[in-house]
């Protein structure tokens, strides 16, 4: 059943396309040698090029080009060996050049696609229209002074990839799934950190509504939405607004709007009517960007494993779809899991990572990049379980001790005497003691009260301090009680 919103005149379908601005991971800026690091002192990472001083000439950063190509290949997109930079002209205080160097007519990357997985397990292909390189603007700070805005140009000139989707999404969920998947791919590729809090990934959301079977109606663009949750909310809020406009006999005007996260509504940016006349023209400072096919092929050969491929490989290992999903969501989690699983039983490793380890992360409010137990140590613990040095329940105790002490599991097992008892004689001795202390129950059991077996198992485990191998306890008890 496809997603619709109910209006007074019946159901409405929604149509969504996203333009995502993703900051390229590079040391220096797209056209200048100033640094790109986040959080530096204001205007400390600004060259005269970024500040729009007269007479300065831009020179392109080869890593930014490679990152755009890498991203294009990760999106299974066409790479254009010939592309060109244009000037997008507008005036704003954080754009000192008076234009943004962008790619309008000839982007570096053409059509591609992303497969998204939805909550019901179904998948859908979302088309990518294009990806182009452009400069980021500086940062305006409006809340520090009653009558002035402050401008920091550290971000001015940092490379951005603008990734434009086809209007292929039909629900807030699909928009959220697309953004989640795109961010996952960028992180796997190492081309953008995807950190929406710091603004290194931002989305412009294009929304329109229509009745089933209609052509597209007029769309509105909701600018600069900075979290996946807000994108999903903005889609619904804007669609509901448009439905109300159409149903009250009005028409939707194509315009740029902002999402008010506090009130959950979109509102018009009261921009001048000519704000969108950007008068693009080829940047005369910059000859065309020409790539060698062999250079593109070398990048293609060096691409890391992407989320879809990794998921297929994990499924082939026999992991459950749920485990595969949570293990591949973040590249760091997958790397952690693979270190734990290396040379070991993949299912056992997945159970531990998604079970006790994730629980510990949540409880301690830690991140996979700062794990309370290293992947190497967790792997060693699995070895101790596999070779019966510790039982499953003892392993949980050892795991907790690893979190507390940071020590290797082998060391903890030695120090605390947690080694599983697998010596037949020792277990028999404990069982004999338990039987001697419970002569009445032994008699009951032997006269047919089978249910008491569990009682003996429990007593024996308790008497051994939890260290007796449970399988051996079961086996020996059966013999000795017979």
């Amino acid at each position: 059943m496809s997603y619709t919103l109910e209006g007074k005149t019946g159901p409405w379908e929604i149509v969504v396309g996203l333009e995502v601005h993703a900051q390229v991971i590079s040391n220096s800026k797209l056209f200048s040698g100033a640094a790109t690091a986040f959080g530096a002192e204001p205007n400390s990472q600004v060259s005269f090029i970024d500040a729009g001083f007269p007479g300065m000439l831009p020179t392109i950063n080869e890593v930014c080009i490679a990152q755009a190509v890498r991203t294009g290949l990760g999106l299974k997109a066409e790479i254009n060996l010939w592309s060109r930079f244009d000037r997008k002209n507008y005036f704003y205080a954080d754009l000192p050049q008076g234009y943004q160097i962008s790619q309008f007519a000839h982007p570096i990357v053409g059509k591609g696609e992303i497969e998204v997985t939805l909550a019901d397990g179904s998948t859908k292909m979302i088309g990518i229209t294009r990806l182009h390189l452009e400069q980021d603007a500086g940062k305006s700070i409006h809340d520090q002074h009653p009558s002035k805005s402050f401008i920091d140009l550290n971000r001015s000139g940092v490379a951005l990839m603008e990734i434009v989707s086809e209007p292929d999404m039909r629900s807030p969920e699909e928009a959220g799934a697309y953004l989640t998947k795109l961010r996952q791919i960028l992180r796997y590729l190492g081309t953008c950190d995807g950190n929406m809090d710091e603004g290194s990934m931002r989305a412009d959301v294009n929304v329109s509504v229509r009745k089933a079977g209609e052509e597209f109606r007029t769309r509105c663009e909701v600018k600069n939405v900075n979290s996946i949750r807000f994108v999903m909310q903005a889609v619904e809020a804007e669609a509901l607004r448009q439905i109300e406009v159409w149903e009250s006999g009005g028409t939707v005007d194509q315009e740029t709007r902002l999402f008010d996260t506090a009130r959950g509504i979109t509102r018009s940016m009261r921009s001048k009517e000519d704000a969108h006349d950007y008068r693009y023209f080829p940047d005369p400072d910059l000859p065309p960007l020409v790539l060698e096919q062999s250079w593109v092929d070398a990048i293609k050969a060096s691409l890391p494993e992407l989320p879809d491929e990794r998921r297929a490989r994990y499924l082939a290992l026999g992991l459950t779809p749920y485990d595969v999903h949570v293990l591949t969501l973040e590249k760091e989690t997958a790397v952690f899991f693979e270190t734990v699983a290396k040379g070991r039983d993949a299912k056992l490793a997945a159970n531990w990572v998604t079970g006790d380890f994730f629980a510990a992360l949540n409880r301690l409010k830690r991140d996979i990049s700062d794990p309370p137990v290293t992947a190497e140590h967790l792997g060693e613990l699995l070895d101790l379980v596999s070779d019966n040095t510790v039982s499953g329940s003892l392993a949980k105790q050892v795991f907790e001790a690893m979190i507390e002490t940071g020590k290797a599991p082998g060391v903890i097992v030695e120090e605390r005497g947690l080694k599983q008892v697998t010596d037949t004689g020792a277990i028999e001795k404990v069982i004999a003691e338990v039987m001697a202390a419970n002569e009445g129950k032994v008699a009951e059991y032997r006269s047919g009260k089978d249910k008491l077996f569990g009682f003996f198992v429990g007593q024996t485990m308790k008497a051994s301090g939890g260290k007796a191998n449970p399988a051996m306890v079961n086996e020996l008890l059966k013999k000795m009680l017979a």
């Binding site: 590079s26 040391n27 220096s28 200048s32 040698g33 100033a34 640094a35 002192e41 204001p42 205007n43 400390s44 990472q45 600004v46 060259s47 005269f48 090029i49 500040a51 020179t59 392109i60 950063n61 080869e62 890593v63 930014c64 080009i65 060109r84 002209n89 005036f91 704003y92 205080a93 305006s140 700070i141 409006h142 520090q144 002074h145 009653p146 009558s147 002035k148 805005s149 402050f150 401008i151 920091d152 140009l153 902002l258 940016m269 009261r270 921009s271 000519d274 006349d277 008068r279 080829p282 005369p284 910059l286 000859p287 065309p288 960007l289 020409v290």
Partner: protein
């Protein structure tokens, strides 16, 4: 193709250039002169000639991804009409 005074007024506004009303017809005439010259150029037969982006270099020169610039906030701010600490200060612009 030709432009009228309304087009000139709009172009000036987009470029944030103040033009007196009485200067508009003269500018329109100059613009139309340039456009006529372009139209004249377009009469040249260019069939079979690849479109080109410029007459100089045919491809961009690439530089390595190294931090070689920055760390000069004072110089960058030196010509600012107004500043607050290490920030440029401009009349408040809020959308």
């Amino acid at each position: 193709m030709s432009v009228d005074t309304a087009a000139i007024r709009r172009i000036a506004k987009l470029a944030r250039i103040h033009v007196e009303e009485e200067a508009l017809p003269g500018l329109a005439a100059e613009f139309n002169g340039i456009l006529q010259w372009i139209e004249q150029l377009q009469q040249v037969d260019t069939s079979g000639v690849e479109p080109m982006a410029g007459g100089g270099a045919t491809a961009l020169r690439w530089r390595q991804d190294e931090v070689t610039d920055g760390g000069q906030a004072e110089k960058v701010l030196a010509n600012a009409p107004d500043r607050e600490g290490e920030y440029f200060a401009v009349p408040k612009v809020v959308e």
